[in-house]
Subunit: 397 residues, 2 copies
């Protein structure tokens, strides 16, 4: 049997650091097959935590604190070097030579994202813009590997929101001739990609359904006085009871009635929203509030499917990824509320729940180098498909 | 005779905004001939001034004022849109269709550049880094033209200072089999590219000689209470007398004794340096100080040639570009002090003095798309040649 390193296909590394600012997710994959139906094998995945001092700086930046261009320039270069080192370390563990990599796709670290213009009327008007740090030239130089980065601005240049970008990858990985598929990612926010049976790329729809883990995590941190960041296995929620009047109040949020495409963030379900839950449920036990927040995530996902998806296309299976896929209580409730739908986790398809985004950017980088578009205009709102990202060619002289 | 638009070669636009933060220099060129000996025809050149409010914001940024990532992200996108509009306007004037452009090279607007690591010993250590704004994805999207941008970080990823990058372009434009050539650019700082007779690319040397117009301009602004930003035609200097003791004091600056490669900036010849001149020459007339500053520029250029260039290679001609090339008094003094050297202006070679940098980035972009390196390691200090910049592929679906 040929060794892993000698099989066909192209090796690529995908890099992303999420909004939790914990560290760098790095996925080493082998991509083979046709561009329209790639086969992706995950060879290694690891999260490289940020040094504590850098993480504090990033939290300040993302929180809106002002910095000098000197400081920002420095952080951008430091991050780029760290991203490059993450690739080196991942490949060394796996005994994969850097020179055998076809490409690196780096999403970078988002420190600002505004998908649509804001303001106007009375206040100043702000154009849509996005800012990812982690200088990719340093990744390419350090590793000697052609690197694609900054995927979002290209879509935004064509009027898109620059997000979400994973739906095309969901389509490439999960499209099925006879099974209507929904890829559900439960991160801080929950989002779905709808891939109709035998669907063509143009029929794919993607949008945020509402809170994912964001509200649950905030309540857990409060409940445990910061000792736990999330409800491991959904244990806390499974010992609580849903508070109907609090759930009802949460479900009246205007975001939930908006028609897709739509996207949510901390503006909708961050600290302000959690504060409202705490006030509405002031007389209740913490585990009841956590059970309620978990039910909120479940119900908003199910309602989004019932209102906006099922009337248009049958859904045979739901493939779940993101941290929420590990929450057994949440997954059980989801299954109970969708009895006709096969509930699967993405690792059953070779895509570990936490690795999907990093894998996605390896695949998007490979598409860019093939000259293929990486956005879905129906999902992002761009006027047309675009070859995403900026390419830094490795110099091997 | 075929019209200009129908001749051979590739059309490209080069974009740069200099440290003076006045606006965007845009050059439309036709590049033909071999990669190692390109012919460049300038079809149009224009400077598009920044809106006053944006210029103020940029001055604040470049001056070290802190901003939120939201504000920086917004300025980056606004600038990118303006760079794209500059291309549109330049091409419209010239009746060149955007779809006929092969590429755009955009240097962007530098808001921070530190070519070497600093600090250490007692204080915190700062890595080398650089930050250019003007989101190039927006240029590519707006114009539908493949765009190369962010040239400096690639070189810095390989240990280089990311500057200067023009020497390779000087070499491509001015190398001569029988004439030892020095390309002299007199911007804020003066720098030279030395191209020995029949020289190979590896023999090219480039470095900063000292102040260019920076000190002169500062004194002129003071002398005219801000009514003039520079000494037009060198008229003020031509009515003054050099003050020997002030000139001598200036010439004792330690930068001038450093061996090349070396680079200077406001840290060496900015406000502090001007303050010293004003104190040393307190009893003298303004025009004498301006004459002295002009003489300082001339003498430091000549001394650099005599100390570091002429002992190694003969110089048959000096090709001058940059704003200082328009200073007749300065040019006359330069000619007087270098009697054996042919003094020429770059426009005699089809490169207007003010357009050279913008032209350079059109040419560097075209090289990147050919997969050719754009830096000279002997000049920047990089460990090896690199394909410079980040490529955003235009999507034409």
């Amino acid at each position: 049997m040929p060794s892993a390193g000698k099989r066909g296909g192209r090796l690529a590394v995908g890099l992303i650091s999420g909004t939790s600012l914990d560290g760098i997710d790095a996925a080493l994959v082998r991509i083979s097959g046709q561009a329209g139906r790639p086969r992706v094998d995950l060879l290694a995945f690891h999260t490289f935590p940020y040094p504590a001092r850098l993480r504090r700086q990033l939290l300040q930046l993302a929180g809106g604190e002002a910095v000098s261009t000197a400081a920002l320039s420095e952080i951008n270069f430091r991050l780029g070097a760290l991203f490059g080192r993450a690739v080196e370390r991942l490949c060394r563990r796996q005994r994969v030579k850097l020179s055998s990599l076809h490409c690196i796709g780096s999403h970078g670290q988002t420190v600002f994202h505004q998908g649509r213009p804001s303001g106007g009327r009375k206040g100043p008007r702000h154009p849509a813009s996005t800012l990812q740090l982690g200088e990719p030239s340093l990744i390419a130089a350090r590793c000697g590997v052609t690197t694609v980065a900054d995927f979002r601005p290209t879509d935004m240049g064509l009027g898109g929101q620059g997000a979400p970008l994973v739906p095309l990858v969901d389509y490439l990985l999960f499209a099925h001739a006879r099974l209507g598929t929904v890829a559900l990612n439960i991160g801080g926010i929950a989002n779905i990609t709808v891939i109709p049976r035998g669907g063509r790329q143009e029929d794919v729809v993607g949008f945020d359904t509402g809170p994912g883990n964001m509200v649950i995590d905030a309540l857990v941190r409060r409940h445990t006085r910061g000792k736990q960041n999330f409800d491991r296995n959904g244990r806390i929620a499974s010992h609580g009871f849903v508070i109907p009047q609090v759930l009802k109040k949460c479900l009246s949020h205007s975001f939930l009635r908006l028609r897709p495409p739509k996207s949510a963030g901390r503006e909708q379900f961050g600290a302000d929203f959690v504060g409202k839950i705490l006030r509405a449920g002031a007389s209740h036990r913490s585990q009841d509030l956590i059970a309620t927040a978990t039910e909120l995530t479940v119900v908003t996902i199910v309602e989004a499917l019932k209102r906006f998806v099922l009337p248009r296309t049958p859904v045979d299976r739901l493939i779940v990824s993101g941290g929420g896929a590990h929450n057994r209580h949440l997954m059980r409730r989801l299954g109970e509320m969708l009895p006709g739908t096969r509930l699967q986790q993405s690792h059953e398809f070779g895509i570990p729940e936490d690795a999907k985004e990093a894998i996605a950017f390896a695949l998007l980088a490979e598409r860019t180098l093939k000259g293929l578009p990486g956005n879905l205009p129906a999902v992002t709102g761009a006027t047309r498909p675009a070859i995403l990202g900026k390419v830094i060619y490795a110099s091997r002289y």
